[in-house]
């Protein structure tokens, strides 16, 4: 079974530039998550999709971050414009999305994209 794919693996940009990350979840997984992991911290949930609908985006800085999951499969996360404090690893995870509330689902993580903002 193929895992969660993310690209690019690394990205270096200057502040005020824009950047986009891509995620392809495990086939058949209904739930997709984007996390931000700043050095020395645990992953922080930015947005959660159930199929192509947003379940939770309460921690997404909506003035600069946006995400979409067209057709309920792949997803993109965009930052425009980037700030120095956005330097982090951006993790994508997926889960089957069938385990009720609160979810007991196991999340399957991708390798992450390491973003450096100069």
């Amino acid at each position: 079974e193929a895992g969660v794919a993310q690209s690019p693996r690394y990205k270096i940009i200057e502040k005020r530039q824009s950047v986009a990350f891509w995620c392809n979840p495990i086939s058949g997984h209904a739930t997709l998550y984007w996390y931000q992991q700043i050095l020395g911290q645990g992953p922080k949930l930015l947005i959660q999709f159930q199929n192509n609908g947003v379940v939770d985006d309460s921690q997404l800085p909506k003035d600069r971050f946006s995400a979409e999951r067209l057709k309920g499969v792949d997803s993109t996360l965009k930052i425009q414009p980037a700030k120095l404090e956005d330097s982090a690893v951006y993790l994508c995870a997926s889960s089957p999305g069938l385990a009720g509330r609160p979810s007991t689902d196991t999340q399957y993580f991708g390798p992450g994209t390491r973003l450096t903002v100069l």
Binding site: G3, V4, G40, Q41, G42, P43, K44, L45, Q48, D56, S58, L91, A93, R101, P102, S103, T104, T106, Q107, Y108, F109, G110, P111, G112
Partner: protein
Amino acid sequence: AQSVSQHNHHVILSEAASLELGCNYSYGGTVNLFWYVQYPGQHLQLLLKYFSGDPLVKGIKGFEAEFIKSKFSFNLRKPSVQWSDTAEYFCAVNAKRDDKIIFGKGTRLHILP
């Protein structure tokens, strides 16, 4: 607000030593509890989880964790660690009220051969 505390940020042990990593959470209602692990150069992966039943949960690679509701704790244990257990360990909680998963800051474990 819901929070997760991992007491130790960096732990160094020798092989064959016993391990216990602490995890406490702040929410008093129904919760699901997870430990995830990230080995060097690898993705985050599930080590074990608790959602109901026996509060002593066994996971992969000889790890176990005990849910003590009265202490709001879910400590991870292993009786005898190996060099290959060197990794970063994250405790995570999600609560019935909002179904939002919260991760702790992680504990970096280094096993000396």
